[in-house]
Subunit: 409 residues, 2 copies
């Protein structure tokens, strides 16, 4: 891990020592790192000039002035977040620390294609910025969650099964017309996993998040980072093959997929065929909450089938937490109970003895919270801060060398 990291004495790294509250003053920084005083002065000045740090309260006491504290300056920076599902979305404006300033939920069909969906998203963001009294110029980063596999290096989707028109669409270029800030696109389940892991279970080293709404997707966070896989395809368990789906056609074109029996869309079709009014995963949730016997029974069965795939997943990964989210997590405990039933009967004791199993604590906000966390971690990473400083207006040059004691550690 050390091999490719940024040099750990760069300004960006120093910023992160302040961010993680490992140091609060220049003096503590010198003591902790052994850096030359001149180096510290130069890098801290650059961070102050670029607005990453600000100085706080000179403490004037009877015994003299105490050194000024340096703190990260998040508040003026704005993050835009969007969690776009298959049929509905949620958008928010947050400050740099991740505090939600304004948010809204909208009906939005992802299959309307990128131009319409992104155009509306920009419109909503502008309205929310206005509500939050923030300027477009204050935006430091945009985070976008989508229900498909993403190549995070390009910010483009890769062969998404339920998102016609989005394959390889240049999302960043589209948004660059409206905001001058970095754009991070991620799979929605990955973002939910990140939000849940960092905000709800920061003490746990690994978390597998399973989103069941119109489709089924999973996100994996290991040591506080999204695990994307080699092609951004990690977590794509919706098309794992299960015997209960044998011969059943899935939206992806194949047969036998988990999503063909356990997704909200599959359940809606199944209930509609029995004469119930169900067109979407939300309708299924409504029916379950109304106490509809067919809906409850079908939901429980769907949970059991998902449990088969999760038993194999948990055996393979031995994660610390398994969190269920998306609409189907709102079916009281019916869906989760089906999952547990099969999960516990098909795993070895070691894999589950300390496994936390539950539904999402962040609920509907998991996606936008995760998007904001992702933006924050990226925009304030050592490498990103170093890049930002490289293009920032130059700070005044250092004074010429002067004589002083050498042991400035």
């Amino acid at each position: 891990m050390t091999a490719d990291g940024p040099i750990s004495t760069s300004a960006g790294h120093i910023f992160n020592l302040f961010r993680e509250q490992r140091v609060q003053t220049r003096r503590e920084l010198i003591a902790l790192t052994g850096l030359a005083r001149s180096t510290v002065t130069q890098r801290v000045d650059a961070l102050l000039a670029a607005g990453f740090l600000r100085e706080e309260g000179v403490n004037e006491s009877a015994i003299g002035r105490r050194p000024k504290r340096l703190v990260p300056d998040y508040e003026p920076k704005t993050i835009l977040a969007a969690d776009l599902g298959a049929t509905h979305g949620r958008l928010a404006v947050l400050d740099g620390s991740g505090r939600i300033l304004a948010e809204t939920a909208v009906e939005s069909r992802i299959d309307n294609g990128p131009v319409e969906v992104l155009g509306r998203t920009v419109g909503h963001w502008k309205e929310l910025l206005h509500q939050a009294d923030r300027s477009a110029g204050s935006v430091c980063g945009l985070g976008l969650g989508v229900p498909g596999p993403v190549d995070v290096t390009t910010g483009r989707l890769t062969q998404p099964p339920i998102m016609p028109g989005w394959d390889a669409y240049p999302i960043r270029d589209f948004l660059a017309n409206y905001f001058d800030a970095a754009v991070f696109v991620e799979n929605d389940a990955n973002l939910m996993a990140l939000g849940e892991s960092l905000q709800v279970y920061p003490q746990l080293p690994s978390l597998l998040f399973v989103k069941v709404a119109t489709g089924i997707g999973a996100g994996l966070v290991l040591d506080g980072r999204i695990y994307d896989g080699f092609d951004g395809g990690a977590g794509d368990i919706g098309h794992a093959k299960v015997s209960a789906a044998e011969g059943k056609r899935c939206n992806c074109g194949a047969e036998g997929c988990l999503a063909a029996v356990s997704s909200g869309a599959a359940l809606a079709r199944q209930l509609a065929a029995k004469g119930h009014s169900a067109g979407s995963s939300r309708d299924v949730v409504r029916l379950v909450q109304e106490g509809n016997g067919d809906a409850i029974s079908a939901t429980r069965d769907a949970g059991r089938v998902l449990g088969e795939v999760l038993a194999t997943s948990v055996s393979l990964l031995n994660p610390a937490a398994l969190v269920l989210g998306g609409d189907m997590a709102l079916t009281y405990e019916h869906f989760l109970t089906g999952v547990r039933e099969v999960l516990y009967s098909r795993t070895q004791p070691l894999a589950i003895r300390r496994l936390h199993v539950g539904t999402s604590q962040l609920g509907d906000q998991a996606g936008i919270v995760g998007a904001a966390v992702l933006v924050r971690e990226q925009v304030f990473s050592a490498a990103a801060v170093d890049r930002a400083l490289a293009v920032a207006p130059q700070v005044p040059r250092q004074q010429p060398a002067r004589l002083t004691a050498a042991s400035d550690t």
Copy 2:
């Protein structure tokens, strides 16, 4: 990741900058890090005194002396490695860089319990040290692979299904009676994954290794590190449930496990029931290599069933490589062909379009190579070097501060 890492200007971190060949001289170190000259002098002196670095060739040229190069001093350090399988083991003595100096393969039944197995292991190591002309005092670390789940923080096994007597046995305490060096115990498939990943596919970010011998286990390496899981149980796919094993009793006590149909032991039982002379996975391999039709057909079927579990695993993880090892990888391509057949038919294109699928290149040596790599990465990590220096004899104190120019960067 930055939050909990060692302070990146510690002696251990500096050692790793030399180890990764990012710097070669004190001057380059100062230029790269911005550290004060006095700090660099102090830390490099400590590393030289403790034998982590040595100075190399002063280059006397016409235009004057060039600064001495500093290089990691691996050669005098010795690593002991053992890969203990269910029925046979392999042991080796390596130098600190991972070069094999002496090795041997032995018959060794893991179910004879820790006292007998570890006692014999120590005996073999002593013999190999003698062969390699190394002293026990030169041993810097021991790496031990075992066919069960390991709590790597304690170096003890956790409820291993096929290792009676080993549950929670204090392996480190036993070995401390013979060698004064750190002991690292790991699951054997994890070590094979590490060896294959770092020695054969260093350019790939993730690798799933599946060992099929007497039993079935998997190891996962992400970004050059073993992923162990929350309780050391990651990779335990041998007891994933498959429909082909329905009603079949597994060694673990449960029914329907993958290992009950696809392991070498299961194949041997199946072939013995048909009158063939087969008592172990090696016998199955022999029969296949002899062209026995029943053995080939059963092996292919077993590969297909394993392929079901691996299809779900690959969908979940989207790894860069899937490597098959253990005895069953030696059945020419029969086992792997069965795996591929089902794997490719049950995954989405994205998960497999760039997936490397093959058999282990390190073969029988995968385990000991992985053990040596693990020891090397641990013993020479920044944190371990810092710990070693903290207990090393103190180097002479720094000179008192003297006057010099401040901009010593």
